[in-house]
Symmetry: C3
Subunit: 270 residues, 3 copies
């Protein structure tokens, strides 16, 4: 696990599977970045859908291939719908990805994350350093939805939480850490402009959802998803003048991403 | 009706009326594409407004010139507000346009569409092939909000539903079909990139709403709206590198659309 | 107050303070422009957060440096959360900025604005001419969220309301008026394309929120915020082809804004 070797799978192969299978990715997500989550899934060649009414959240999950939950702007009704949808996903055997957006910022967020983790099966837990540290039980403050200071060793944190929750844990940052129960990946792609655009974290979660819909090894799915997405970000940054042109380029570059570019640029290590 | 002749009205004339009259177009729509629906109406030179509280939905309708309903992310409270707003629109005599987004995906959506069609007067019913087939009573599955397979003859489907519901029916696709009670239009403008951008269907509905606010023949309004909107899409596609630059170009090109371009490019047939 | 002199402070100095301090700006805002409000704050170098559940609105305010309220798509639950958040902000002594979006369009909006002004301390009241005229008690109609006709003298209107409510009052328009209890500013920057983009008004309010988080003289904060934001708009307009490229440019230009450009272009008068 500490070998720092290039990964043995090609992230682009997973992207190709997403493009070919065009899975339906259901979301119960926040009101700030909901459009971007949908558009990033569409950009991959997959089908996004967002249906948050408790009366239909489970029905929509029945026809989906993955379920993405994001607590960025949670309400009691939304949490209720999340539990119904996740239970349906568990019964159907499709992956549930949880973005613990803002964990560590308020008691409601902490309580909600723990309730979800305890009451339904979450396959991928994803957040920034302070969010994941909080979910792992540390007494830490998240600055709204932006990462606060964390002194812990993040790889150990991810591995410990992965083992405890029997899930894949993703910590995003300059180097992303992906810890499944059996493997740890480091993704060193990406660009600092991502921290200047609202929604880059939420979109990463949606991309992981689309990849997990076509790849049963969720650690591999998450690492491959982040590599592809962040290579697109690097390409976009090269021709951007600021956050808006960067964001537009991120969609366009991900749409056009090809095998050679991913193979050349990927910095995914195990 | 099967003459395949160029239409006898100029779509650009209707766009000019929208720009001159700047109608207020009220929306009760979904949380995913709500911004784009507002911006596309603004881009036309009209005024969008979105007020979904049951306590004010009818009041806002009182000062509007058209009402757009979209069930993309429906809740019980939103449906209640839709009925109140539509009833106010019916009393005032302004057009009500319903995007049956996701009909055929869940029972809640099907029930909601039927309840709206039965309880208030809907002037324009708009959806993709599988959504409209479902509303017409066929046993069909929509893939979230993306069209599923439909084997039926779409023109017959549209005409039959138009007659049954005494409404104008719009089926979007490579060729859009617009069936009023007295006339059938085919709009062959558009570009395949529209299927890669979330919200192009919702925005089409908002454009139809703005045109219906200034043109009492709703079949003509819908056909003219789609022609103008999709010509802008063709122009945008010519200079785009992917979904984001395409979408930005769609707004910019629609904003700049002129009479000569519309006259030359329109592929609107009766 | 009628001297029409260049202002004695540098707006760019406040922008620099925002960039250095990166304040957390909490929002309870509308569903149409929520993303843009977040992104404009992020573009300034600050941290946006949006948490509208009544169960956490006050908790999130506890860790914030400013609170922005916007009634663009209000509901009863949202108003309840606004009151809880504003009360927490008042206790903590951080500024509360209220965008009276759509005041004068429906009775619910008028009632809500008055309830907020009466029940909590609002430090900055911001709207277009007809919205502020309505809040000041005039019998006036707002066209949804777009300004209606107002015959009153806007400077007097702003000063009177500022005195009555012991608040800073901002009226946006071709010339923006900012009236604190002790000073009146006119901001003559900006561009007409701002009226063709949904959310430019809401974003202005968020920028004011970020500036008020670092400058205790709220009149100065609001005037400096508008000057910087609208200079970015002027720069963006120079290279735009329509509303979408203009909006993208607005973010990019604000991100890159430097001291010399602001000093040269600012048209802020007292």
């Amino acid at each position: 696990m500490k070998s720092n070797q290039k990964s043995s799978f090609e992230p682009f192969d997973l992207l190709q599977k997403v493009r070919r299978q065009a899975p339906l990715v259901h979301h119960l997500t926040n009101w700030v970045t909901i459009y971007d989550c949908a558009q990033i899934v569409k950009t991959l060649g997959a089908s996004p859908v967002m249906a948050h009414a408790p009366e239909e959240a489970a029905d929509m999950t029945q026809i989906a291939a993955a379920l993405v939950l994001n607590i960025g702007t949670l309400t009691e009704s939304l949490v209720k719908a999340m539990k119904l949808a996740a239970a349906a996903a568990n019964r159907k055997g499709i992956p549930v990805i949880l973005d613990v957006c803002g964990a560590g910022a308020t008691p409601l967020r902490d309580r909600t994350v723990l309730a979800l983790l305890d009451e339904v099966k979450i396959n991928v837990i994803k957040g920034n350093a302070s969010e994941i540290a909080r979910v792992a039980g540390q007494n830490i403050q998240t600055k709204g939805v932006d990462a606060g200071e964390v002194s812990a060793d993040l790889e150990t944190l991810a591995k410990t939480l992965a083992a405890r929750r029997q899930a894949t844990v993703v910590i995003t940052g300059a180097t992303d850490i992906v810890a499944s129960e059996k493997q740890l990946y480091r993704v060193k792609n990406g660009h600092d402009l991502m921290t200047r655009v609202v929604g880059t974290g939420c979109m990463a979660t949606s991309v992981i959802g689309a990849f997990a819909a076509v790849e049963a090894d969720y650690g591999r799915a998450a690492a491959g998803a982040l590599a592809c997405y962040e290579i697109a970000a690097e390409l976009a940054a090269e021709k951007s003048q600021g956050p808006a042109s960067f964001k537009a380029g991120l969609f366009d570059c991900l749409y056009q991403l090809d095998a050679a570019t991913v193979a050349n640029r990927q910095r995914l290590e195990t």
